[in-house]
Symmetry: C2
Subunit: 357 residues, 2 copies
DNA sequence: CTGAAAGCGCTAACAA
DNA sequence: TTGTTAGCGCTTTCAG
């Protein structure tokens, strides 16, 4: 039997069994619409050279059978794409939400398509990025919240330009000319935080951090803390370091709670992140310490939640939206042929209510 | 020239240009390892029938050239998969984080692979799910935080079994036998919340919600609020409804703030979600209302953040981990041939500090 | 144990 | 404007 003749039969037949089993392919649509697969492909991709008639009949069949093309096959068949990959470290980290929104709309505006992948804190973002690059034929990559110690060897599997957003490569050996970055000066932000406390008269300033030398942003901010102490003529007291080996609010709470039991002599805490400060606040409250009357508190980040704490957290805010926009702009420029760049954005102090009593 | 003979030349050649351009394919690896593509495929997929020798040489080349297979092609080539799709509505909704973790490990344990996709609040989860089904050749789907009004027509494009997690189909027309669900009894939870307030002596109970008839969980919980009022002989007062048309903390704050200006007569607020309660608390604080002395507050959800508020939020906690596990169990059973089921899980009251004064 | 070859579903020349 | 056809990179029979 010739394909053409049985079309209506097939049509009826399939109609009855519509969606009853496996998914339709572009071939099915072509057959049912009485055109070739390339024509179907053309209308699906909005190519200009298609007759109204063909377009209509294809669309009708697509509609009727609820056809949805297979993206894998699509991506495979295409020689290139306009995809920009975004890999985000830390599922549901509130800090990234605003940045992602900014990145998304900016990518759209630039005429690219964003394909984002969120990964767990312990997953490997480089591998994820490398896979995305291949699967999605990326033109470029934005890494959100990665590590500070990438090595050239590690990044070898990435062959498209990438920009690090919210972090840089202080502890790695990457060549500045091989990647871009947008971030705040974390060391300086920590310095500013300590300075704010110092100006309020505090001399015994504890620090709540993840690790003092864990190669993460915690280490950079801790370095800023140290530098500030030195500048202000304060001596570093190991007893005033609260190290919790994570960025969790629960761990910050527990860690601070345990530390408070040691009854150290202090009047203020600098937490390296808003989230951790929130954990600390609860511990302080339970220990009967009033914030800011008994203990002043300041952090870095400026996430939305910390604005809803009672008292409102004093913190150095990162310019999240701006960061996202700059990251995209940078990447698009690089894709367009310009060279890599490194941007440092300023933070702004949110006064809040945990600083001054 | 025969391929075999030039291998070492090619190897050297490519070595020099390693990663200098496009990505390697399985063919390149095969050539460099001196085996066929099928052998490479076998070692990459841990098939048993490969000689140690072949395995080693392939792995060596893979290692050396940092080869990463193309997932799209892989998925395409495979006739089936052991993938279970999870589509999550609402990026970085803290409420889902714990559930996702539970789902992930449970899927792993069941011998399946989780492939997750997060979408924005305004995106279409059905379409996302349908595309995943095709691209990833899913065996089943878990929908996290979807809408309550799916229709049969909409779900037509999904041909694998799916389970709705944290919500059900109260406002749609789905056949109970065609899908599964795991959720709490939202109506009852709202009822319980109001009852808790009532038992504390409150008679003028305001409700903070997204919409009273928006077809979302807000509506269900509002219905529970109404039912409770009726049961307790309280009259519904439209003036005590704070409607904000979103689930945002910022909108809840702003909405409550505006509402408070009207100076309504009330002694308690039932917020339909923890997040919204957090916004309300700030508004109350700024209006000089003490919680719980002046105004009692209770919500539903039990997210981590609300435990760190000051005062700690009183709320009806959803059994997040349990929900995730049950969802997977259900789905795996269905994939295994069993029929669809609908599970309702109980909530537990977190006393907190905003209920009793 | 290994290789050749036929797809998977789609895109993109190339002809017609 | 259309259809034919050769890939995209991988998996998987089926022989050997």
């Amino acid at each position: 039997m010739s394909a053409g003749n049985v079309t209506s039969n097939v049509s009826k037949n399939i109609d009855l069994h519509n969606n009853s089993g496996k998914n339709m392919t572009i071939k099915d649509i072509a057959r049912l619409a009485g055109v070739s697969v390339s024509t179907v492909s053309r209308v699906l991709n909005n190519h200009p050279d298609v007759s109204e008639k063909a377009k209509e009949s294809v669309l009708a069949v697509v509609e009727k059978y609820n056809y949805i093309p297979n993206t894998s096959a699509r991506e495979l068949g295409k020689a290139s794409s306009d995809n920009i990959g975004v890999v985000v470290r830390g599922m549901s980290n509130p800090f990234y939400t605003q940045i992602i929104t900014a990145i998304g709309s900016k990518i759209e505006k630039a005429g690219f398509t964003m394909v984002m992948q969120q990964i767990g804190t312990s997953d490997n973002e480089i591998m994820t990025a490398a896979m995305m690059e291949r699967d999605k034929r990326l033109q470029g990559l934005i890494l959100l919240g990665g590590k500070l110690d990438y090595t050239k060897e590690q990044m070898h599997c990435i062959n498209v330009p990438y920009v690090c957003c919210t972090f840089s490569n202080e502890y790695g050996n990457l060549d500045k000319a091989d990647y871009s970055s947008v971030c705040i000066d974390d060391n300086q932000a920590a310095y500013d935080a300590v300075e704010a406390l110092y100006k309020q008269g505090h001399r015994k300033i504890a620090v709540l951090l993840s690790g003092a030398d864990d190669g993460s942003v915690s280490q950079v901010r801790y370095a800023g803390y140290e530098r500030a102490l030195k500048d202000f003529g304060l001596t570093l007291d190991k007893n005033l370091i609260i190290e919790i080996n994570s960025y969790n609010i629960a761990d910050a709470y527990e860690g601070t709670k345990q530390w408070l039991k040691k009854d150290r002599d202090f009047t203020a805490i600098f937490a390296i992140s808003d989230n951790m400060a929130m954990g600390a606040m609860k511990a302080l409250k339970e220990a009967g310490k009033k914030v800011p009357e008994d203990v002043a508190l300041i952090a870095i980040d400026g996430i939305e939640a910390s604005e809803y704490m009672n008292p409102v957290l004093s913190t150095l805010c990162q310019p999240m939206e701006k960061m996202g926009c700059e990251a995209v702009k940078l990447l698009v420029d690089i894709i367009g042929g310009k060279s890599h760049k490194h941007i440092t954005l300023p933070t702004t102090l949110r006064e809040g209510e945990t600083l001054k009593s």
